[in-house]
């Protein structure tokens, strides 16, 4: 299926958010996620089903003031 990950177009086989993160190279990483602008907690990722055209945001700790 075709999705947007952090604004970039990606083709994935995974059907849920947890599997998608593994497939996209985020396995084991400390990240927070949102799908279509809504926060998805880590515990909810395995049951968060993805659909064609979904917008996924994957955020990590970064420098800030």
């Amino acid at each position: 299926m075709h999705i947007l990950v952090n604004g970039s177009s990606r083709e994935i086989r995974a059907a849920d958010l947890s599997a998608a993160l593994e497939e996209l190279g985020y396995g084991g990483a400390v990240v927070a996620t949102a799908v279509n602008g809504e926060f998805v907690a880590a515990v909810a990722r395995p049951t968060a089903r993805l659909s064609d055209g979904d917008r996924i945001e994957v955020l990590a700790p970064m420098q800030g003031g």
Partner: protein, 257 residues
């Protein structure tokens, strides 16, 4: 001791982690500052580079408290969602709440700020709102449940110091019991000392340290300024006056004319 929510802190200097020349210099600056709280952010992570993972490892090793921000958020929804993401990643209910209203000055959108603060306080966050010196906005933020405020000195990164002394003094006088952390715009240690002398409880510094020629040395200078400013406040500064008052006694002066 400084109390911010349930935390008891010795240092009145909070340090931002952005714009340092290198991770090593960031680490040196945090240590030199004596800061017990550092601010951090969340940004998009690449599955290949995973840059954020290395940064997070460095910050965790510092052993300081983390204050995640919502920098760059322009709407209530963005800020609230970012706060939720920060709470999960950083494992803290603290959030430095920024809702930016205008890009030139990065002035807070105080209407959105109050709305977002109300939502987050109800959801159990301990909110540090980045706000202006406006007294009525401050009242609304306190009504929303904020127990610490972060009024600006001047625009973020400008280094202009305390732009509106009258307004900041009025804020301090109107809310004497509320911890006030002066945030944004401090350029040199004397600005920080001035904030503490006025009775502000702490300051948050970022650019003034990270963009100094020697950030660790500047962090140490800020630590001294903050300590001096606080000591002066506790000692009770004299009131300024318009006319001279001789400090040497006039009585007993010889007549030599």
């Amino acid at each position: 001791m400084l109390q911010l929510y349930d935390a008891q802190l010795r240092s009145r200097l909070l340090l931002g982690t952005a714009r340092y020349p290198s991770p090593t210099i960031l680490t040196e600056a945090v240590k030199a500052s004596g800061a017990e709280i550092v601010t951090v952010s969340l940004r998009r992570e690449s599955g290949g580079e995973r840059a954020g993972q290395g940064f997070w490892s460095i910050i965790r090793d510092l052993g300081v408290r983390i204050l995640p921000n919502t920098a760059g958020c322009h709407s209530v929804k963005e800020a609230v969602t970012t706060a939720h993401m920060g709470r999960e990643v950083f494992g803290t209910s603290w959030v430095k709440l920024e809702v930016i209203g205008e890009d030139e000055t990065l002035q807070p959108d105080v209407f959105g700020l109050v709305e977002a603060a109300r939502i987050l306080c109800q959801e159990g966050f301990e909110v540090f709102p980045y706000t202006t010196e406006d007294l009525i906005v401050t009242e609304r933020l306190l009504e929303a449940g904020c127990r610490v405020l972060m009024p600006w000195g001047s625009p973020i990164g400008s280094g202009r110091g305390l732009n509106n002394l009258f307004g900041l003094k009025a804020l301090r006088a109107r809310f004497p019991e509320v911890p006030l952390v002066l945030d944004a715009g401090i350029g040199v240690p004397s600005h920080a000392a001035q904030a503490l002398e006025l009775g502000f409880d702490a300051v948050l510094i970022n650019t003034a340290v990270s963009q100094a020629r020697d950030p660790a040395a500047m962090a140490a200078a800020f630590a001294q300024a903050v300590a001096a400013g606080r000591a002066a406040y506790e000692a009770g500064p004299m009131e300024p006056r318009d006319l001279a008052v001789p400090s040497t006694p006039v009585i007993g002066k010889a007549f030599l004319g």
